[in-house]
């Protein structure tokens, strides 16, 4: 009997031990070097092989190159899709286990991480590298700065255009509109003929916000929304109310696809890709679909053109070369990283190589300047890169600039604005209240 008892106790102890060990396993991840004596840099990014193949390959190639040049370094990647990435980064941050290098969005997203003292300033990388110093398009790097220090180096830059189907425009003898009045006439003609004028995924909020932000830019001037966030202007400025009213005027005219407030951006995109809608206001990340992507038929690509958002008669934003846009993702280095110097060196390297490779290989507009003369690019890219060099202003997306709470409210309210569940007055008032709450 005694022996059985011992066995029972022994078994229980083993079970307990295995439980305890399972609990410990995660804490051993702070190892610095791998078995062969190389320094390990942990790098987490959001371009999985399946859904972002081009980006994935560039990163993979650059890592291979770098490891060849620096034989004492090993870079371990962990790859998640963007939504999962966002969640995981938050969880890692709350337990203080950020990877050595990771990806971040600008402004409102990066701020809590900086305030939590988790990221290392990266100004020294840029200052100490002659190739990087003047490489960035002005204003982009600054989106990742908090209190004058830069905590992220941008990889992408996106600006928004109205893309349109030339065949549909020709069929109804339409010209590219230069002013908002002309744009409304285009909408009217298309709607009268039973064609969906523009498609928009208002359920997600942000795609619909492009319309609101451009109208605010054209009516109230290019700095108005940025000033609202900084507290220099009020959200209930008549120009902003007017912009919200014009959005609803377009809705009333049948200017957007039916039931847009239940469509995601991808659903809405489908209408444009299937040629059921004549126009689609979106950002340059869609460019591969209209130029280089092997998954889209050439016949469709040939039909697609783009134009700048029309100007508004009597509005303060007179320049058609003012864009709404923003940096996409950038790279950060964790403050607690044990290989911080090495990680910073790799970040600088990746940003440079990315700038050279991304336009051609992935069709992405990089945040660094591109020498178009030396590259063999689709005409649309050359035109857009030229536009960018002539841009009078790029206003960062309102929802990127604002805090997460304001940004989320903004998305909900824009959805409601397109669904006509709020009035323009209520739309600005709710923004104003939330912004005021924040200042407290």
């Amino acid at each position: 009997m005694f022996s059985k008892k011992t066995v029972a106790i022994f078994m229980s102890v083993i079970m307990l031990l295995s439980l305890a060990l399972a609990g410990c396993s995660s804490s051993s991840s702070s190892e610095e070097s791998s078995a062969d004596g190389k320094k390990v840099i942990k790098f987490m990014h959001l371009w999985p092989e399946g859904s972002s193949n081009a980006q994935f390959s560039i990163v993979k190639d650059v890592i291979a190159e770098y490891e060849k040049e620096h034989t004492d370094i090993k870079i371990e990647t962990e790859i998640l899709n963007p939504d999962q990435y966002r969640e995981k980064l938050k969880v890692l941050a709350s337990s203080n286990e950020l990877p050595d290098i990771g990806m971040t969005w600008s402004d409102g997203f990066i701020k809590p991480y900086v305030e939590g003292d988790m990221l290392a300033p990266l100004d020294d990388i840029v200052e100490n590298d002659a190739d990087l110093k003047d490489a960035f398009i002005p204003g982009v790097k600054e989106s990742y700065a908090v209190d004058g220090k830069t905590y992220g180096l941008p990889l992408e830059l996106n600006i928004s255009y109205i893309f349109y189907n030339k065949e549909i425009f020709e069929k109804y003898n339409l010209e590219v509109p230069k002013t908002f009045e002309e744009y409304k006439n285009v909408v009217k003609t298309l709607a009268d003929n039973g064609v969906v004028p523009a498609t928009v995924g208002a359920k997600d909020g942000w795609p619909a916000s492009f319309w609101f932000m451009y109208l605010a830019d054209r009516i109230g001037g290019s700095t108005i929304l940025t000033d609202v966030i900084k507290g220099k202007e009020k959200m209930d400025d008549p120009a902003i109310v007017k912009a919200a009213e014009e959005v609803q005027n377009l809705v009333d005219m049948g200017g957007f696809v039916k039931g847009s407030s239940a469509l995601s951006n991808d659903d809405a995109k489908g209408y444009f890709m299937n040629e059921q809608a004549a126009m689609f206001l979106t950002a340059t990340w869609e460019l591969p679909n209209y130029t280089t992507s092997p998954d889209v038929e050439q016949e469709f690509k040939d039909k697609i053109g783009y134009f700048k958002f029309p100007t508004y008669e009597g509005g303060k934003g007179e320049s058609i070369d003012s864009y709404v846009g923003g940096p996409g993702v950038g790279l950060f280095v964790a403050k607690d990283s044990k290989v911080q110097e090495e990680a910073k060196d790799f970040v600088g390297y990746l940003v440079k190589r990315w700038g050279e490779k991304s336009v051609i290989d992935a069709g992405v507009i990089p945040a660094t300047k591109v020498d178009t003369a030396s590259l063999d690019l689709a005409p649309m890219y050359i035109e857009i890169l030229k536009d960018l060099s002539e841009a009078s202003n790029v206003t960062t997306y309102f929802d990127t600039q604002s805090s997460p709470a304001v940004s989320e409210l903004h998305h909900d309210l824009v959805t409601a604005l397109f669904g006509k569940q709020v009035t323009p007055e209520d739309f600005v008032k709710q923004h104003k209240d939330e912004l005021a709450d924040e200042k407290k």
């Binding site: 009997m1 059985k4 008892k5 029972a8 106790i9 229980s12 102890v13 079970m15 307990l16 439980l19 969640e87 938050k90 941050a93 709350s94 809590p112 991480y113 305030e115 939590g116 988790m118 969906v196 208002a202 359920k203 696809v257 039916k258 039931g259 847009s260 407030s261 239940a262 469509l263 995601s264 659903d267 489908g270 209408y271 059921q276 805090s403 997460p404 709470a405 989320e408 409210l409 909900d412 959805t415 409601a416 669904g419 569940q421 709020v422």
Partner: protein, 291 residues
């Protein structure tokens, strides 16, 4: 062996692993959630203790009570749908042809992931290209509803895929319970001249009352904390018209970075679930029938 099992220390050792797991995965997180609810915390930086402020705000938050109302409506709808499942199961269990095959068909939605079901129904509900509205236009409806885009309809439109999703689960359990009803009772009733409706209503249903009670509780509590399809299909919109408690909690904690307030909502959700479960149990507290 007997002496081993009567030793209190050994018993506790055996119980310990699962006790630890339950504590670690269920009870401690509940206490922590309640505790985080006392904080002003964005989930990343430092926590600030603010006492009951979050809970007081929660009690005054019309958005929260609206989402709670939507959750309760979903619970009511799920409970009503149980009647339908019960009738279906009664038919299936009465030895009709192909019962086995039908049972498997009803089970299929259970096997699909919620995200896949969401994508499927998003395609069905699409205002212009969707299957449903195409059909309505074909049979001559000029302006078919916009379903998920219409704030007056969206909640009810969402109930259908949710109810459809769980049909298989309830049907299989009712079916199994009905198969346990003794054959002799039914034979005897038949000899006495009872119709099949009378048999179903007077004999089968009372005998599986216990199972029905459990199903009602499962349906209501499941509805109160329901999240998946609403998140995938509408994200609570448009304008909060389909927001339920769990989606509201998600938005606050993970999209707005109000982790403290999100935790308070989670705790409120827990309390509402406990209260409702208790009320239902009181209401249904009748004796089990046994012939």
């Amino acid at each position: 062996m007997k002496s081993v099992m009567s030793n209190k220390w050994v018993i506790s050792l055996y119980v310990l692993p699962s006790l630890l797991l339950i504590l670690l995965l269920i009870y401690i997180p509940i206490v922590l959630t309640g505790y985080y609810g006392l904080m002003d915390w964005n989930g990343i930086g430092k926590m600030k203790f603010i006492g009951l402020e979050n809970y007081i705000e929660l009690a005054k938050d019309t958005k929260f009570w609206q989402s709670a109302w939507h959750s309760l409506l979903l619970g009511l709808f799920s409970t009503l749908s149980l009647v339908g499942y019960l009738i279906l199961s009664l038919i299936l269990a009465s030895k009709i042809k192909g019962a086995n095959f039908l049972r498997k068909i009803y089970l299929i939605p259970m096997l699909l992931s919620s995200v896949a079901i969401g994508q499927l129904w998003a395609k069905i509900f699409d205002p212009t290209n969707g299957m449903l509205n195409r059909l309505l236009v074909l049979i001559g409806v000029d302006n078919p509803p916009l379903w998920l885009a219409d704030s007056n309809i969206v909640l009810y439109a969402l109930f259908f895929p949710i109810v459809w999703q769980y049909a298989g689960f309830y049907i299989i359990i009712f079916y199994a319970a009905l198969k346990n009803v003794p054959e002799e009772l039914i034979e005897a009733a038949k000899i006495d001249g009872a119709t099949s409706i009378q048999i179903a209503y007077k004999i089968k249903v009372p005998l599986i009352a216990g199972v029905i009670k459990v199903m009602v509780i499962l349906a209501i509590v499941g509805s109160l904390k329901y999240f998946d399809l609403i998140f995938v299909l509408t994200g609570g919109g448009p304008n909060g018209a389909s927001e339920v408690m769990a989606s509201y909690m998600y938005t606050e904690a993970f999209s707005k970075y109000n982790f403290g307030y999100g935790s308070a909502i989670g705790f409120g959700l827990l309390i509402i679930c406990i209260v409702v479960t208790w009320v239902i149990q009181k209401l249904l507290n009748t004796k089990d029938v046994d012939y």
